[in-house]
């Protein structure tokens, strides 16, 4: 068991949690400023698009538009929270603040540090995902007790997105390239991965592309859990997230060792 773990995820130890604790402490110092904007953002979307635009839209797959759209908002922060944290925060700590350099002079390995960063991304996803779950439940949009499983989706989904974002920063020469992650990867997923409209509206080739988008699977699961109407593909999506998350984690560890330890 240990040997298999080391083969895929070398040098990752429980010490990674000490990195997570460091992030927690820093977060608690400035949670008011760093939590409120990403919390308000989806609220505006919910009211503006869900109710405003949604009033002019017919039902989608048997749901009112806002009912269709609200769970996708949870999914979207499961993506955006770790993307911002691991890409921008990660780059700042890697390159500008040299926080990682200081950490790996201790018994922490670079893999411990990266794992801590990704776990923190997952925690940010959890925090924001649950906040939105609470908000949409206040609007009466949570229809099933299965929604109590949303935190689990936040952690695993957030972990996967954290791995992707941190892998991305391993090969960019400067922080401006983070924009491309947002413009070319995050925004298309946010718009096309079944968030605002079902992917069945897309041409067939684009539906295939959408299936390869991690967000598509997270949206599907969130929508099933919030509405209680289980989409038949959901098990496939669960496996998709776990497999891609594990692969992305293994890749992230290797890429960041390559970037940091010369």
């Amino acid at each position: 068991m240990v040997r298999v773990w080391n083969l895929f995820f070398p040098n990752v130890t429980p010490r990674a949690f000490t990195v997570l604790l460091r992030h927690k402490e820093v977060f608690l110092k400035m949670w008011k400023t760093s939590l409120i904007p990403p919390f308000l953002d989806p609220l505006f979307y919910l009211v503006g698009i869900g109710y405003g635009l949604g009033a002019m839209v017919q039902e989608v797959g048997g749901f009112s538009y806002v009912q269709f759209f609200a769970p996708a908002l949870i999914a979207s922060v499961i993506m955006t929270a770790p993307f911002f944290e691991c890409a921008i925060g990660g780059y700042v700590r890697m390159y500008y603040q040299k926080t990682w350099d200081a950490m790996i002079a201790t018994p922490l390995s670079i893999e411990d540090v990266i794992t801590g960063e990704i776990l923190y991304g997952a925690m940010r996803a959890l925090l924001q995902g649950v906040s939105i779950l609470i908000v949409i439940s206040l609007f009466g949009l949570v229809k099933s007790p299965l929604a109590l499983l949303i935190p689990v989706v936040c952690v695993f989904g957030g972990f996967m997105f954290g791995c992707l974002a941190i892998s991305y920063i391993s090969w960019i020469p400067n922080i401006n390239y983070v924009d491309y992650l947002f413009t070319l990867i995050m925004t298309p997923m946010f718009v096309f991965a079944g968030t605002f409209f079902p992917i069945s509206r897309l041409p067939e080739w684009a539906q295939t592309v959408a299936w390869f988008m991690p967000l598509y699977h997270v949206v599907l699961i969130c929508r099933s859990l919030v509405t209680g109407i289980i989409h038949p593909e959901i098990w496939g999506s669960v496996i998709w997230i776990l497999v891609v998350g594990a692969i992305a984690f293994a890749i992230a560890l290797r890429l960041l060792r390559w970037r940091v330890v010369k």
Binding site: R15, T18, L21, R22, Q97, T99, A105, T106, P107, K262
Partner: protein, 304 residues
């Protein structure tokens, strides 16, 4: 006594560039060992290999018997590192920096609180424990980095250019702390390009240039390798006079660099007796030092 750090034919290459070229060294436990050289000589690279921050391309490097490539965690457990670039955690206060760092080593909480206070006291930062790191001066940051490097009670302390950019007061404080730590039995590795600093502190040192050791030994012994115990510096020599002056100084070892001639001689008066008819803006007579040896071995031309 057996060496606590041992390098055998250590090589570090970055692509085609050889930063450290086949060096071997033994560092005795409890000594203060210096690595001296100009910028880019390979000092920092050697330090980084010892604290497992960069890989060793070939050769073998062991710390307390542990190979840096095989057992980096074991090596890092007993090291304290004060790197050249300040990498304190800017999101935390002075005190929190120590607590958080201690946690990376897995030091129990009850021990840490007391130790952190002692260390802040040791580096005279006890009144700054709640200050954000950003508000500390350069000298204070260095001292905090030193305290941080001691949080795990290391057996070996690595100081990579600890005094670069510090004012004289702060520099003297760092020197004093180093001697105090040495008395406690900690092995100290120091890199610097200040020769006087090295001569003043080190038990043993190596001079490095272009990734190779060009001299090693005790600083006092090394200085004896120079042709004399004193140097006379003749400043503001006019170009057209240089050849004439040098021809009159045949009895003495001398070197010319820019507008200055360095003459290895015991007395400026004897030198000046040979130079009737020449005037110089300034004539300085002083003891030879490591810097003379270093510049003699490496040439006086500028490094990049």
């Amino acid at each position: 006594m057996s060496p606590i750090i041992r390098g055998q034919n250590v090589v570090k290459k970055y692509g085609d560039f050889t930063a450290v070229n086949n060096v071997s060294f033994d560092i005795e436990s409890g000594s203060l060992f210096g690595f001296l050289g100009p910028n880019g000589a390979g000092k920092t690279t050697i330090m980084k290999m010892i604290y497992c921050f960069v890989t060793v391309t070939s050769g073998r490097l062991t710390v307390d018997g542990k190979d840096v490539m095989q057992n980096p965690r074991g090596v890092k457990e007993i090291l304290g590192v004060v790197p050249q670039e300040d990498n304190l955690d800017p999101d935390l206060t002075t005190y929190e920096n120590l607590l958080t760092y201690a946690r990376y080593y897995g030091i129990p909480k009850r021990i840490v609180a007391r130790r952190a206070e002692e260390l802040l006291d040791f580096v005279s930062l006890d009144k700054k424990d709640d200050s954000p790191v950003e508000e500390l001066s350069g000298g204070m940051k260095r001292r905090l980095t030193l305290a941080r490097g001691l949080i795990n009670e290391p057996r070996i302390l690595i100081l990579d250019e600890p005094t670069t950019g510090l004012d004289p007061q702060a520099r003297h404080l760092v020197w004093q702390k180093m001697r105090e730590l040495k008395r406690r039995g900690i092995t100290i590795l120091l890199t610097t390009h200040y020769m006087e600093e090295a001569a003043y502190l080190c038990d043993e040192l190596v001079l490095i240039d272009h990734g190779e050791f060009i001299a090693r030994g005790n600083p006092d012994d090394l200085i004896k390798e120079l042709p004399g115990e004193s140097v006379v510096e003749l400043h503001d020599v006019r170009n057209e006079d240089k050849a004439k002056i040098e021809s009159r100084l045949n009895d003495y070892e001398n070197e010319c660099f820019g507008d200055t001639i360095y003459v290895y001689a015991d007395s400026s008066r004897k030198v000046m007796d040979n130079l009737n008819g020449f005037t110089f803006a300034r004539v300085i007579e002083r003891k030879t030092n490591l810097e003379d040896l270093f510049l003699r071995l490496t040439g006086r031309s500028l490094r990049d």
